[in-house]
Symmetry: C2
Subunit: 311 residues, 2 copies
Amino acid sequence: MTEHDLIKLLTRRLPGNDRVVLGAGDDCAETAILPGSRTLLLKTDAIVEGVHFEPDAPPEKIGHKALARCLSDLAAMGGRPECALVTLGLPAVPDPVKIQRIYDGLNALAERYEVAVVGGETTRTPRSLLLSVAVLGYAPGDGGVRRSGACVGDALFVTGSLGGSLAGRHLDFEPRVAEALWLTERFRPHAMIDISDGLARDLTRLASASGVGALIDADFIPVSRPARERARRRTAAKPPLTAALTDGEDYELLFALKREDAVTLKDHWNRRFPATPLSLIGRIEAAEGLRLKRNAGVSAIGELDGYDHFS
Amino acid sequence: MTEHDLIKLLTRRLPGNDRVVLGAGDDCAETAILPGSRTLLLKTDAIVEGVHFEPDAPPEKIGHKALARCLSDLAAMGGRPECALVTLGLPAVPDPVKIQRIYDGLNALAERYEVAVVGGETTRTPRSLLLSVAVLGYAPGDGGVRRSGACVGDALFVTGSLGGSLAGRHLDFEPRVAEALWLTERFRPHAMIDISDGLARDLTRLASASGVGALIDADFIPVSRPARERARRRTAAKPPLTAALTDGEDYELLFALKREDAVTLKDHWNRRFPATPLSLIGRIEAAEGLRLKRNAGVSAIGELDGYDHFS
C-alpha cells in the first residue's frame, strides 16, 4: 500500500460540518468558522528522528524543519501564518540543552514570520524524538490557492532549484512564505502546491486534482548544485535531472498561472526576489499525465518516480 | 528534570504576537486572530504506542483517546470544539484495516460533538505508532476559563470518579464537553482544569496558577470502582484514596466556583447530567499548598504525588 492509497482510504469519509470550506487532500484545510471573516488555513505535520532527520542533526535545525514544513504548506495555499502549537515527544531522559536548542531553531523561524508559538505539549516516546507542529493562518481574501484550479494553457513555474535536498537543505530551507504572499496578492495562481515528494509526483498531484496534464521541458528544470555534484562524484547516483524530478524534500513552490501573466510575473519577481530563482518549466495541457520534453523528443513520465514515505 | 521543569523551560520565551490572548501554560491557548469575533481555542497533543496505549489496544480506542484528550482540554476552558487535524505516524508497513479502525474510533467521537476532521498527515515512524491531534474551537463569549482565577472561599468540584483509569477507562473515557459548555454558560467557574496527572497534581497547578491554596476532604473525594477493586485484590496496590489523588488519566473536570452558587449548581447538575457524578470536594484557601482533611486531622500533601510523564 502506498502513502497515496493510505491517505485516500483515510480521507474518504471524515466527519465534516457546514463551516468546512476545504477538507483533507490539499496542502492545508480551510474553514470559515467565524462568519463574515476571512477563512482560516490549518495544517499539522510531524517529523521523527531516524526518518526525517538523523539523531546527530543539529537540534536547531530539527526545530526549524518541523515548523518550516508547515509554513511551506501554508505558503502553497497563499496563506499568512498566524500561530503554531508544538508537541514534542521525548525519550525517557530529556536533555534540556538539546530541547532548548530545538526550540531556539523553531522560535527563530517563527519570529521571522511573526508566528506566535502559543503552546503545546511534551509527551514521552519509547525511543525516537518526534516533533509535531500545527499551524493556523489566514487564507488570502478570495480563499486559499488550491491544487485543483490549473487550466489548459497555463504556464508552469517553480521556485528555487530542485534535487539533492537530503545533502543538507532539507534541514534549513526557508519556506516560501514571503514569495507566496506576494505572488498570490498580485498574480493569483490558478493552482499551487509545495514540492515535498519530488517535482514529478507533486506536479502529477496538481495536474490530476485539476483534471489536466502537463508538459515540462528538461532544459528549463532548475537542477540544484547538490544534485549535480552528487551525480559527478558517485557513479551510482541518480542523473541530475532524475534527482530534480524525483528527490523529495525540496519545499519549493510549483504553480500554474495564466499564460499571459508569465512574462510580467518573471520581470517583477526578479526585482522583488533576486535571491529566489523562478523558472518557467512548462505548461498545462488537456491530455492527462506528465510528459517530459528532451532533445530526443517527448516522453511520458510515471508518477511513481516520486518519493513515497512508505517505499 | 521533571516534566514541569521542562515545560517551564520551553515556554519561558516563546515568540508571541498581539493577537495572543493566552499563550502556553493553560489547558489550551487562546487567540483573537479575527478582530471583533469570538476568540479561538487551540490545543495539540500526541499519544504514542507503548506509552499511552499498549500495542494490543483496540484500534478504535486509540483513535478515540487521541481526540478525546484534546477535547478534554478544550472542555477545561469551557470551549466548544470545532475542527481537528490528525497526524498519524506509522511503522514501515501500515496495516490498512488497523488504520481504518483507528480513524473509525476518532471519527465516531468527532461526529458526536460535530467536530469536523479537516485533514492531516501520515508520516513514518521507526517503530511505534503515534497519533497527534490538533483541535480548534471557540472560547466562551467572555473568554476561556483559565486555571488562574480561583478565589479564596471558592467551592471545589470534581466530575466523575477518580483513580484506576489505567484499568481501561483511559482508553474510552467521554470528554466532559457537554458538561463544561453547560457549566460555563450558566455558572461560569472562576478556574477550571482537566485532571490528567492526578487530582493532587492538577489541583496544585490550579491553585498555584491562582496564587492560592486548597483544602480537600478525604470523605468527599469520589474514588472510582477500579481503584477500590485493585486495592482489594492486590496488597501492593495503592490504597484507594491515594489512587484517586495520584493516578493519572482521569480526564475529569476540576473547577473552583463561587461558594454561593454551590448548592444551586449541584441541584441543576443532577437533573441535567444524572449519569455524571459531581462532587464538592473542598474549598480554596489563602494559604498556599494542598491540604487533606481526614478523621485524624488536616495534613499537607506534596505536589509530587501526582503522575509525571518522565518519572
